[in-house]
Symmetry: C2
Subunit: 146 residues, 2 copies
Amino acid sequence: MSIFSKTCEYALRAVFYIASKTVDGSRVGIREIAKNVDSPEHFLGKILQDLSRKGIIDSAKGPNGGFFLTRQALKRPISDIVSAVDGDNIFTGCGMGLTYCSEINPCPLHHEFKKIRNRITKMLTGTTIGQFNKDLLLGKILLKKP
Amino acid sequence: MSIFSKTCEYALRAVFYIASKTVDGSRVGIREIAKNVDSPEHFLGKILQDLSRKGIIDSAKGPNGGFFLTRQALKRPISDIVSAVDGDNIFTGCGMGLTYCSEINPCPLHHEFKKIRNRITKMLTGTTIGQFNKDLLLGKILLKKP
DNA sequence: TTAATAAAAGACATTTTTGTCTTTATTTTA
DNA sequence: TAAAATAAAGACAAAAATGTCTTTTATTAA
């Protein structure tokens, strides 16, 4: 198990890639994205389609079309991507899978998990989609094997 | 997505239950366990079988048989359960699914994730299987819906 | 030594996740 | 207007996770 589903990992990598390539109105094609974040092209296509429907990224068909991000979209937190793809369980769910787990009826791990969840939430809501663009372009940071 | 697989959630709940019921050599049957941690009996059976093979819990066949824990087993960290069931990805894996992600070739989330992973590791290695027994018996803490 | 009890094991069945391939719709540009 | 480019959509396929049912094996106790 990882923290995010594979789908979500692909989504994060792809959106970071699109972000770093989004310069004044330019778009990136799915083939290029898939190649650069090392993910299956058609599967990624559906994921991005979905994110596009949900308004997290934008797309345009036809020649010079592709996926891109608006200036506002670059400022959005990556928690938007995570909850669009994986839902909110990571932010609010019980570590032991108990739907009734709460402050009043806690599971054994509740109190410790709360802290960890809060930490994760803070991290995901506190970092924006666009904030890694520079480092990505400089190669200080990677989206696939070097 | 949750942090642990469903299998692991069942495992944690079941082992906590067995722990709380383990008093001087007594054993707990799978039916009772399944009922009290709200999980499918046969499926849980296989999970516990596996944990037993791996030496995390003990079992005995025949009348008065069932699952139980030794005194040493009660002192073991719950990270043992987690890595037996879900593997070590949660402790060491990259948040974005990059196998090559490391200090030298970090993914965008690497540095922040490292902190979170360390926190999770600390929590799981720092809490023992038996440490909730009292609170479980007092009903201060739950393993299924109240 | 037989019957009862309980875990272990095996064989499937279902659901969810992940992945592929083909066709369609939209847009641009020549 | 026609051809080319590109995302969108649809229909499957494969793999993994989850769940169920049946049979076997070991143990106990009468």
